[in-house]
Amino acid sequence: MAGHSVVGKSIIRLDALDKVTGKAKYCEDLKLPGMLYGKVLRSPYPHAHITSIDTSRAENISGVRAVITGRDVPEKRYGPSVFDQHTLARRVVRYVGDPVAAVAADSVEVAERALGLLKVEYEKLPAIFDIEEAWEKNPPVIVHRDLPKYELGKFPPLRLVPDRPNVCHLRMLRHGDVERGFKEADLIVENKFTTTRIQHCPFEPHGSIAQAESDGSLTIWAGRQSIFLARQYLCKLFDLLPSQVRVIASHYIGGGFGSKVTLYTEPIGVMLSMKTGRPVKLTFSREEMFSSGGTRIPFVIRIRDGVKKDGTLVARDMEMLLGMGAYAGSGPLITRNCIYGAVATYRIPNAKIDAYAVYTNEPPVTSFRGFGSSQVLWAIESQMDVIAEELGLDAVELRRKNLLEEGDTNITGEIVHSIGIRECLDKVAESLEGSPKSKMEGGPWRRGKGLALGNKYSMAPTAAVAIVKVKGDGTIEVHESADEIGQGCHTVLAQIAAEEFGVSVDEVKMVWGDTAFTPYFSRGSTSQRTTFNVGNAIRLACQDAKRQIFEIAAEKVHAQIQDMDIKDGAIYVRSDPSQRISVTELFTSERALSPGEFGDYVEPSAEILGKGVWVTRPAPSDPETAQIPENVARMGGRLAGFFGYGVQGVEVLVNIETGEVKVEKVVAASDVGYPLNPKMCEQQIEGGVAMGIGSALWEEVALDKGKVVNPNFGNYKIVTSINMPKIENVKVFLVSAPHKEGPYGAKGTGETQMTPTAPAVANAIYNAVGVRIKDLPITRERVFRVLREKAGG
């Protein structure tokens, strides 16, 4: 966009130097005087009664300061939506890894030794693992017998299904009349797709330091996403007021990808600190990350589509079961939101979706980059290729024919705004065209290409507040509460403040989040909301600060406020730029130092503090149908903050003898609204592609009767640099469909980027060897077996 000097530029990330030199501080680097180390004993059984716990031997080791069990924790249950979880299991354990007891000791080693001396006796109960079986009307095992009596949170409002006792939420969408739609269809295609559990695998495992203060308040240093959400959850659990809980961001956070929204370490740390009076650090091991640190939610999806001969979609019916594991966590919210993945891309006159949140005795899931959209799109985008094949149409043309456009109405009744997906599709399709036509590659290798469309909303409601402080030396200090989890949000947010003040980012200072000092940001850096919401709040805060500066300056240079502007640290009159005064000149010291010296006091308000508040409100929608009332939609009422879009095309080689799949080339286009920092947008795309390839081909938290059997990087296979296509074969296009409310038109972009990858890979595999894999991950053995079946062997 013309006229911008800082935003829209690929400036170097503010954290680059700290990170490459190892100076960046993470939670693990923090050490407080007198700090103890906590460790957690976990259930070895997927479902059992605890009959006794003997802590005496553990308590007697020197260096052990506290041992706590279910008897010591609040009777009250907690959770983000269903209050179904105790800090430590009180009577029943419901998954392998359920916390049973915890120890605080002088060192991690002593704490671990103490765990080994705790004696717990269990009485095993029957357990349930299969999502479909658990969803049934008369399931053999009910995971939470007391579910109907549990307290339920208000967001999202939950709908229990009385005759399905393992379901804690049913989300429904009804648009048009699907049965009529299927009658009009020339072809009906029905398939079942599944996705598996994958872990976020952040560099830094979950960790926090908890300090129970003597006045009953809590201070928490946490390497997490969303300090305010943590405060809210902890207040609820420990019956405290917001002013009594202070959550401090432990500076940098070593990656989250959604996993760090949940409370994992904090409640147990608090209990240990309450008992010892000392700060307690609790950090997960990598094994705990896999067994108890949350995974992506596995889906079972039945999708039935009705289409006309020419490819026009006339009906779509989806039934989705989401396997939450033993505690609901963010499961119900994912169940609510996942349907948006089916909303954002295609024009469908008649649609019906039912999504169920289902308990099992597997480890609990949590939010994961995509928040349900990736799984829904795995089904939809695979299905679109199946339909194209059955109709004898080109898969790209089929998609083009059904794409939503600006101003269209989607299946929630929302009027579509800021949709750049057609341009993304054009770019990717054109770029894939150029690749070799031949499928034979020498020996057992076959070549194929495929693409898929992706989208991801940004959740509303969201409230973000920013405070901008203009310092006597001209520095712009920005206070906000986004989480710097590696996505580089501080850089982009600093760019926005710099742009508003016409300075370089070097003049901007970002402040680390701390609920006692930095202003409110409702759910933190989740749901790709930071740039859009905090970015807007910062713009408003800057404008507020500038207004104050202009008021003060107007008197000094005798000009009208509306004629003034600011650039490079000086306020000037637009019509006569020679009339100017520098920001530093507005300040004096209280002791009135000689002019020119940096002061720290400004008349009349002492300090220049700009405040900006940005709230994204969702339109109300009918709980039975998910429809937005027509009059609300016409007034611009929206489902979410915005939708980001992306299209990815891949070229693969498939070995017909072994089933091996190599991703040779990736073309990715994404509509980011406006790229505030193009390089960082590209990096989000590249990272999303890498994570997407891993999730497509290898990643699976493997469970045997509820127990994770691959809780390490030896057997849980994440993507490595060796598995990525060569960098010159990864092509990225940024597309801009500006959002009228986005800062400079920008939308968030972190999550969108993983949503199309897995189906694109599956479509390319089909193109190469003619087999359709409907279950993730597409392991070599799976490809091999399906190829064998196809060959009739």
Binding site: W698, N715, K717, T720, F784
Partner: protein, 292 residues
């Protein structure tokens, strides 16, 4: 990790007397890339840890014409990969090393540790067995030489006694017109343990195309690295063509004993033995055409 007492002996002699003294309550640590992982998982809890990494005299590659190659137990996989002389004389061994872990692991992982740890997936074992290598084991009482073929007795098990140290691996000079190929199959590709490993070493007659000697050694899909002797037998003395290679590969697959594991089902792994053995044999024969 549990508590342990730690020693850094400076000589082999001191090491051997410590081993005699503490026997199976002690563990030798070389690179530690297997040992430390297992100790952290508490799969192993030695009371005494004897770190031999400082005994530099155990880190060498020696070439002698009649006795062949001698590799000190502390030689790292990275050294084996990079030695120009090894690349020239035993290219099949340097090639195995390139497929081993990541560079970071190869920099510390030792050949002695790889063999003594005795995982069925140990990458160095199949090729060394195929090359008729022997291990020199020493204790306070003296030394013994054991063919590697007889060294492994099961997963994690060897003939090594608790008071013995493996000090050297000896590899005879391969006859002329001999080539070897190692095929390693993994579930992802790159920096992983093998799901199937097959080493094939082939010797061709000096004037004809027939195969005068062949060794096929399977790794991972057997409790301990094992020669596929029936497959070898049908190749020996034959003119080698696609048909006979396919047949030998089928037999090798039958000889393998894979188990269902998280890394792959038994059936699938057996199928992969077939493909890998075929490819290893084909490539090895091809290479004999240019081998010295």
């Amino acid at each position: 990790m549990g508590p342990f007492e730690y020693f850094e002996p400076e000589t082999v002699e001191i090491t051997l007397s410590l081993l005699r003294k503490y026997s199976d309550t002690a563990k030798v640590c070389a690179g530690g890339t297997d040992l430390v992982v297992r100790m952290r998982k508490r799969a192993l809890n030695p009371q005494f840890l004897i770190c031999i990494a400082g005994i530099r005299e155990l880190d060498y590659l020696g070439f002698e014409d009649e006795r062949g190659l001698r590799i000190g137990c502390l030689t790292t996989i990275r050294t084996i990969e990079r030695s120009p002389e090894l690349k020239e004389r035993y290219p099949m061994l340097s090639e195995v090393a390139t497929r081993f872990g990541s560079i970071a692991i190869r920099n510390v992982a030792t050949i002695g540790g790889n063999l003594c740890n005795a995982l069925p997936s140990a990458d160095m074992a199949p090729m060394l067995i195929a090359l008729s290598a022997k291990a020199k084991l020493v204790s306070i009482d003296g030394e013994r030489i054991v063919p590697l073929q007889d060294f492994f007795t099961g997963p994690g098990k060897t003939v090594l006694r608790a008071d013995e140290l493996l000090v050297e691996v000896q590899v005879p000079t391969p006859p002329p017109h001999t080539s070897g190929v190692y095929q390693k199959y993994t579930t992802r590709g790159g920096e992983e343990l093998a799901v199937v490993g097959v080493a094939a070493v082939v010797t061709r007659g000096s004037r004809n195309e027939s195969c005068t000697d062949v060794r096929i050694v399977l790794g991972t899909v057997v409790p301990a690295p094992m020669r596929a002797e029936k497959a070898e037998a049908i190749l020996k003395g034959k003119i080698v063509d696609d048909e006979i290679v396919e047949k030998a590969s089928d037999i090798a697959a039958d000889e393998s004993r894979p188990r269902d594991s998280i890394r792959g089902s038994a059936d699938y792994r057996r199928e992969m033995v077939r493909v890998l053995t075929r490819d290893a044999l084909r490539q090895a024969f091809e290479r004999t055409q240019s081998a010295r």
